[in-house]
Amino acid sequence: MEVPGQPLLLLRLEGPLQSWGLRSRWDVRDSGDEPSKSGVIGLLGCALGYPMYDRRLEELDSELTLGIRVECEGRKLVDFHTITGTIPMAGGGVKGTPDDPSTIISPRSYLQDAAFLAILSGPAELLFRCRSALLAPKWPIYLGRKSCVPTRPVFEGLSYEYANLEDALRRHPWRWEGRATLREYPARLRCVMEDPLGEAVRPDRIRTNPARMYESRRVRVLWADFPGESEEGETCISHA
């Protein structure tokens, strides 16, 4: 019998709109090009029933390592979002009155038509706990913003088939429900993998301080050759 590899939790993040904020402050809400770590940890927190500011979210963040593979690059959409009413100002004053309300313009970015494979490595016991939680989440799951509903259950599998995170990013079969709309399969897939020696920085380590300041982490961008498509019917490998 083959020696099992490292335990890995695989998620598929698919939906018409997703939004993975990186630097949002106040009115302008951006989205990164791929799921943020704070977003994915938040998604697991939702499944496990950890509320906002719960210390356990920080523990999840430090115990799990995240790798993202972009199955289909999204395109940015900026939604024109307005909030109308009487608006408190920083100095304690108020803009607008109930009879003559004021409007805040709050542009919110989304990724449209994107699909991602997210892979997490960490202690097996924790990954199994996440697996059970994803199969029966405490609160409904969403893709970075509550209005972004997934088009399939995000849980793809808990696998021992790969030597490590990078091996899984390179070899796990490609799949996207929207594949019929593609003219051709991508030749290579962009991956963003957490790596302390990585060349790029993402400001998205979840921290539960009251100011909601995030910490940075280092990531490495690598390109995986197209690993082949998973067979029809393999959509929902559960490795139960």
Partner: protein, 394 residues
């Protein structure tokens, strides 16, 4: 338990939800442009619809207001506090809702707050106690609104109204708790490829030709309005357990007294009764209300052709948007709604089987003679709402 509502609704030419340039909102899905109605637009149209309020009838709703001080003064006067003291108390209440308790000169709170009657009562209670013991208005005036706010802070738990429980709220004050929304609403997208259309319009002067000289043969003004016609897939879900907990408060700790536990069981039973009324009201409003954008121009008041309700044991939301990742289209003898329905039903059956998605019951309403495997067909919208009500009553 997760309640999922899927709607297919075809709109005649309209511009229900616009961006900053006045164009109908859109997005790319499956590589092609789609019409879109934003999540926030749909939620607001439901929350503010008279139908929603009427259906709920008799259950208190929250107030979105800056006039907390007015309500406090009313309550204090009714409880026998004299005018001068009540006036000072109201001034103190203007400092609620901002962290530093800074009193406002205009007699209102700085921010609009979504408050339940019990929130208002709790604030009034604190100020009533102070006013009864303060002696004079001068002594009362010396109190700091910041300290008063801290006293009104949540001691245990205080009820909120169903609309706050559904849509959530965020207030920067320790006197009121934040509430996580129990409703999840996706942006509605069209099932098909959408092209923007432009309506060229002219406004002709009714008094054209009046006067000695012919001014011109043309229009008083010209312009264009962007619009489209789209069949939308809409998705709503309600996290039933979160909604009940929002209304009934958190589970008491294991070491809590028997009395507290009994009180909580009663609160949960009440919350379930409210939910059984509010959730069908939400669905009715979602079915019968359309966003108001440019409706005086387009009057696109069309109702949905299909509504699927799925009651799931697990909180695993699944949108069926991928039914339309290859766009629906009208062809030969099948119209756009017919093709959208066919794709929807096929995809829903496929996903249910592939992912073993559990739901009990699954209620299906359709204006056409189309069945979905594993669903209970409902002939009328009233039948569907009644069936949903029965599920919630069990």
């Amino acid at each position: 338990m997760l309640l999922e509502f899927h709607l297919l609704q075809n709109h005649a030419p309209s511009n229900l939800n616009r961006d900053d340039s006045g164009s109908p909102k859109d997005c790319i899905f499956g590589g092609v442009r789609r019409a879109r109605i934003s999540s926030q637009c749909l939620k607001r149209s439901i929350r503010t619809s008279p139908l929603f309020t009427e259906e709920i009838g008799g259950i208190d709703l929250g107030l979105r207001t800056r006039k907390l001080p007015h309500k406090v003064k009313e309550i204090l006067l009714a409880r026998g506090i004299d005018e001068a003291l009540a006036e000072v108390a109201a001034a103190k209440a203007t400092g609620f809702g901002n962290k530093d308790g800074k009193e406002q000169k205009d007699g209102k709170t700085a921010q609009v707050m979504f408050l339940s009657p019990q929130d208002i009562e709790a604030v009034a209670e604190v100020l009533f106690t102070k006013a009864s013991t303060a002696g004079s208005a001068e002594d009362m005036a010396k109190l700091s609104a910041k300290d008063l706010q801290a006293e009104a802070a949540l001691k245990g738990w205080r009820p909120i109204t169903p609309d706050i429980g559904l849509f959530g709220r965020m207030i920067t004050s320790e006197a009121f708790r934040d509430v996580q929304a129990a409703v999840q609403v996706a942006h509605a997208i069209s099932t098909h490829r959408m092209d923007h259309e432009f309506d060229y319009f002219t406004a002709v002067d009714d008094l054209l030709g009046l006067g000695e000289e012919e001014d011109d043969a043309g229009a008083g003004m010209i312009g264009d309005i962007e619009f489209n016609s789209a069949c939308y897939y809409k998705y709503f879900s309600i996290d039933y357990d979160a909604f009940v907990q929002n209304l009934a408060g958190p589970e008491p700790e294991t070491r809590a007294s028997e009395r507290e536990k009994a009180a909580h069981r009663e609160a949960v039973a009440d919350a379930r009764t409210i939910a059984a009324k509010v959730i069908p009201a939400f669905l009715r409003a979602a079915v019968f209300t359309t966003p108001s954008g440019k409706q005086n121009t387009f009057a696109a008041h069309q109702l949905p052709d299909a509504v699927l309700v799925e009651v799931r044991p697990h909180q695993t939301p699944v949108s069926y948007a991928n039914a339309f990742v290859s766009p629906a289209r009208a062809k030969n003898d099948v119209d756009l709604v017919g093709d959208s329905l066919r794709k929807f039903v096929e995809h829903c059956e496929l996903l249910t089987r592939k992912f073993s998605l559990e739901a009990d019951p699954r209620l299906w309403f359709c204006t056409r003679d189309i069945q979905v495997t594993g669903t209970t067909g409902c002939d009328t919208m009233d039948d569907l709402l009644a069936a949903l009500g029965q599920v919630l009553a069990r």
